[in-house]
């Protein structure tokens, strides 16, 4: 329970910080970065949070499930004859992003490995 309490606290801290500084980053992501820093500086001990964090992360897909159910309202915004075009654009552009990102990351990883040979 201590772990969950800490995670909820950081989520709330993310919301507060976003509001005070009007940051354009999502509150959850701010909370995550704050939490990572706190682990880093030893303010939060890993063993306090590991149990709760492992459980929540392992079942993260459950927490996205209602969002996916929500996609059934797509037809309210897109006419039926345009659905195929939307599906095509979604799939094709997602694949393009995956490949572009993956290729660049792969290329740079190889260059880094060459720069400091033996370092993995």
């Amino acid at each position: 329970m201590l772990g969950l309490a800490i995670l909820l606290m950081f989520q709330f801290a993310g919301i507060l910080l976003k509001e005070w500084l009007s940051l354009p980053i999502p509150a959850n992501v701010i909370g995550m970065l704050l939490f990572t820093c706190s682990l880093f500086f030893g303010w939060v001990k890993l063993q306090w949070v590991e149990g709760a964090a492992t459980f929540l992360i392992r079942h993260m897909m459950l927490f996205f499930l209602p969002y996916v159910v929500g996609t059934l309202v797509l037809s309210r915004y897109v006419e039926t004859n345009k659905l195929l075009a939307v599906a095509f654009s979604l799939v094709a552009s997602t694949i393009a992003v995956l490949l572009a990102t993956g290729w660049v990351a792969k290329l740079l990883e190889r260059k880094e490995a060459e720069a400091n040979a033996g370092d993995r």
Binding site: F10, P26, L56, I57, R58, M61, V68, A85, V104
Partner: protein, 230 residues
């Protein structure tokens, strides 16, 4: 029939149905590895709503309770980030370059494909920010002149596509390294992609979590020039 409507107004049934659908989807995944729990689980809930003729708005009362847990779950991604921080630091240039490339292709690609497919400008603008997490993509779409509700749906679908097929597509094109898979899936399909990698490898998930965070900062910057163009 007010007697029937009473329980529908509460969150309990929707929470129970969603968790049950997810648990069943996990069992199915154990039998058939290719079945994505998020897809099968959501499909089961949608079928349930269709058969019982319950509206999505009624479902949301309970659905929102489950969505709330995304907050602490996202914060919890700090654990893999912390555990792999030494290794992540060494790969910052590659991760940063990958996210930047992905953001540019995401914006340009959505624009190009939506125009080629003959979609209206409102749909086009709703599609541009779809690779970044919903908390960022929805306000971006609003500023561009898109339909925020549509962007929310497109963002989730993009996440689902990347989450279901991302690692497979990458391997098909010879991208097999953990780092590249993590950066690509995190950049293309935000938290939903990251939620899948968690079950494959903790290192991939930590790269993905960092990439999706960087994308939240980089994508809005790259979208800025569009305001002068449109």
């Amino acid at each position: 029939m007010p007697a029937i409507a009473d329980w529908i107004q509460g969150p309990e049934w929707a929470v129970a149905v969603t968790v049950a659908a997810y648990a069943a989807a996990l069992l199915l995944r154990n039998k058939f590895k290719w079945m994505h729990p998020l897809f099968t689980g959501a499909a089961a809930v949608i079928l349930f709503l269709t058969f019982t003729d319950i509206s999505y708005e009624d479902y949301r009362i309970g659905g929102d309770l489950i969505l709330f847990m995304l907050g602490p779950a996202t914060v919890a991604l700090g654990v893999p980030l912390y555990k792999h921080s030494q290794r992540l630091r060494r790969h910052i240039p590659g991760i940063l370059a990958g996210v930047m490339a992905g953001s540019v292709v995401s914006i340009a690609g959505a624009w190009l494909l939506a125009s080629v497919s003959g979609l209206s400008t409102a749909i086009l603008y709703s599609m541009i920010p779809k690779s970044v997490t919903a908390a960022v993509s929805v306000p971006l779409s609003e500023q561009l002149g898109g339909i925020p509700e549509l962007t929310a749906v497109l963002t989730v679908l993009t996440g689902l596509i990347g989450s279901m097929f991302g690692p497979m597509v990458l391997k098909l094109f010879g991208i097999r390294r953990d780092l590249a898979i993590g950066v690509a899936v995190g950049t293309a399909s935000h938290g939903i992609g990251t939620a899948r990698l968690v079950n494959d490898s903790e290192w991939q998930a930590s790269v993905s979590a960092l990439s999706m965070s960087l994308s939240c900062i980089i994508t809005p910057i790259f979208i800025l020039p569009l305001y002068w163009l449109i």
